[in-house]
């Protein structure tokens, strides 16, 4: 599932195991509770890294769990449920009082890509793993807060279209070139090291966490509004 460890000033959230790290209500609940813990223990100089073991960062919502409902209607209902339950996770990341880094060492698809994109910085592998919005390929429309996230985080209209309308599977080098990720590195260890380096450098700035979160919300006003986050401008 997911674990949280503290390493100096760094909070490290890890999806453990070699599975696809899909999000079902249990995993989502766990994530939410861990992020609450991070927020509660935040101090100046804190930073968060989210990472995963295995071939996947996360492959999105647990569609098997949705299908286990037994009917088409039931599956659609369970999907809607997960979309709704996941929203507070994104809200928590958007309002986290510290810089956040996603260390993407495997595939990040649909909800998994959305989770990664909800971080301030994305570091990715050049040689393995893709960013992919699978929805168009499995005939699912995109939830409103997913759309808002893409609109406000990805400035290039062609990139947004390529992800959402074309179902492009984007590798690390292209993601770096097109400005989707901060940097792409040649292997798993390099990504993890670079993420730690970045998080530590950001932490060293000793930013006032609450102010950092308010500035972040101001950067993404539409998304914040859809997530029900209020924004205090001092």
């Amino acid at each position: 599932m997911c674990t949280l460890e503290k390493r100096g000033n760094l909070f490290i959230l890890t999806f453990t195991g070699e599975d696809q790290h899909r999000f079902n209500p249990n995993v989502i609940g766990s994530l939410l509770s861990l992020l609450s813990q991070v927020k509660a223990e935040a101090t100046r100089g804190s930073a968060l890294i989210t990472q995963a073991q295995g071939k996947f960062f996360s492959n999105g919502f647990d569609l098997d769990w949705a299908q286990a409902a037994g009917s088409e209607q039931g599956a659609a209902e369970r999907l809607r449920q997960m979309v709704d339950l996941f929203k507070p996770v994104i809200a928590a990341l958007l309002s986290l009082p510290m810089p956040t880094v996603a260390a993407i060492t495997g595939h990040a698809a649909a909800g998994g890509f959305v989770l990664a994109l909800s971080h301030d910085y994305l570091i990715m592998r050049k040689d393995r793993g893709v960013l992919y919005m699978s929805e168009v390929d499995i005939a699912l429309t995109i939830p409103d807060y997913f759309n808002a996230l893409f609109r406000e985080k990805i400035g290039d209209a062609s990139v947004r279209r390529d992800f959402l309308l074309r179902g492009l599977k984007m590798k690390g080098d292209e993601a770096e070139k097109r400005g989707v990720v901060e940097a792409a590195y040649g292997g798993e260890a390099e990504v993890r090291q670079a993420s730690v380096r970045l998080a530590e450098n950001l932490g060293r700035r000793k930013w006032h966490g609450e102010v950092y979160a308010e500035i972040r919300k101001g950067l993404y006003p539409q998304l914040s509004a859809i997530l029900g986050l209020t924004h205090k401008a001092y």
């Binding site: 569609l63 659609a76 999907l79 809607r80 005939a139 699912l140 939830p143 409103d144 759309n147 209209a157």
Partner: protein, 239 residues
């Protein structure tokens, strides 16, 4: 006017007409919109639409001769407004089309012609002998919503300013660098072949047309808000 062909899974919309400028007047507008309606009615999973023209122009904008022929200032204004309404209908029809759309800008596109091109999901262009020209600025014509929303939706950064505020005739290579078009090719035949190839590749993804259209509307939500249409969630996934 325009004609509509079907080639396997592809719908091919051809801008025709003796006057190669393909200027937008009520006849051409109705013709295109009606072709789009037919396309929508006959669409299946794995359909795609391409729009081509085989003349010096892709589309040279509104038929201003038709507008001026109205006579008085008031009637001229009314005619112009009518063309704006038609263009709005056109944008709406394209945005809701349940399949990927690709424009082959084989010749010049000006004003409303640029809007027509940008209505498509993908735009391919000729490297030379083809410019994008927002002549509105030079003619002293303002660009109203929803067309501004279309530009905001489809073009990012300084490219948007350069397209709309510089009054430049943007050649293929430049349009590619600006991110307005996907790719450029040297000859008319290459553009057409490339467009067909991309359309085939996209069609092979076998997307669910209705879902594709709703995703597109969600992607261009500001434009849809201004057009007064909403996107509906569809959650019956192919698992």
């Amino acid at each position: 006017m325009c004609s509509l062909e079907k080639r396997g899974n592809l719908f091919i919309l051809i801008l025709t007409g003796q006057n190669g400028e393909h200027r937008l007047n009520p006849n051409l507008f109705s013709s295109i919109i009606s072709a789009l309606l037919r396309t929508k009615a006959e669409s299946t999973s794995g359909s795609a639409l391409v729009t081509v023209s085989h003349s010096k122009f892709f589309c040279n904008g509104f038929d201003l001769d038709w507008v001026k022929a109205a006579g008085s200032d008031e009637e001229t204004q009314q005619c112009f407004n009518l063309l704006l309404d038609y263009l709005k209908q056109l944008v709406l029809a394209f945005i809701s089309l349940p399949m990927p759309t690709i424009a082959a800008v084989n010749g010049h596109a000006a004003a409303g012609g640029v809007v027509l091109a940008l209505c498509h999901d993908y735009v391919l262009m000729r490297r030379y002998r083809s410019v994008l020209y927002m002549i509105d600025f030079d003619l002293g014509i303002k660009i109203p919503e929803p067309f501004m929303a279309l530009f905001r939706a489809k073009i990012s950064g300084s490219a948007r300013r350069d397209l709309l505020l510089s009054g430049l005739k943007i050649k293929g290579e430049e349009a590619l660098k600006m991110g307005i078009v996907e790719a450029v090719y040297d000859g008319e035949e290459e553009v057409t072949n490339a467009v067909i190839k991309i359309a085939d590749d996209l069609a092979k993804r076998n997307w669910h047309g209705e879902v594709y259209a709703e995703i597109r509307k969600g992607l261009y939500s500001e434009l849809c808000d201004i057009l007064g249409i909403a996107s509906i969630p569809i959650a019956t996934p192919k698992l």
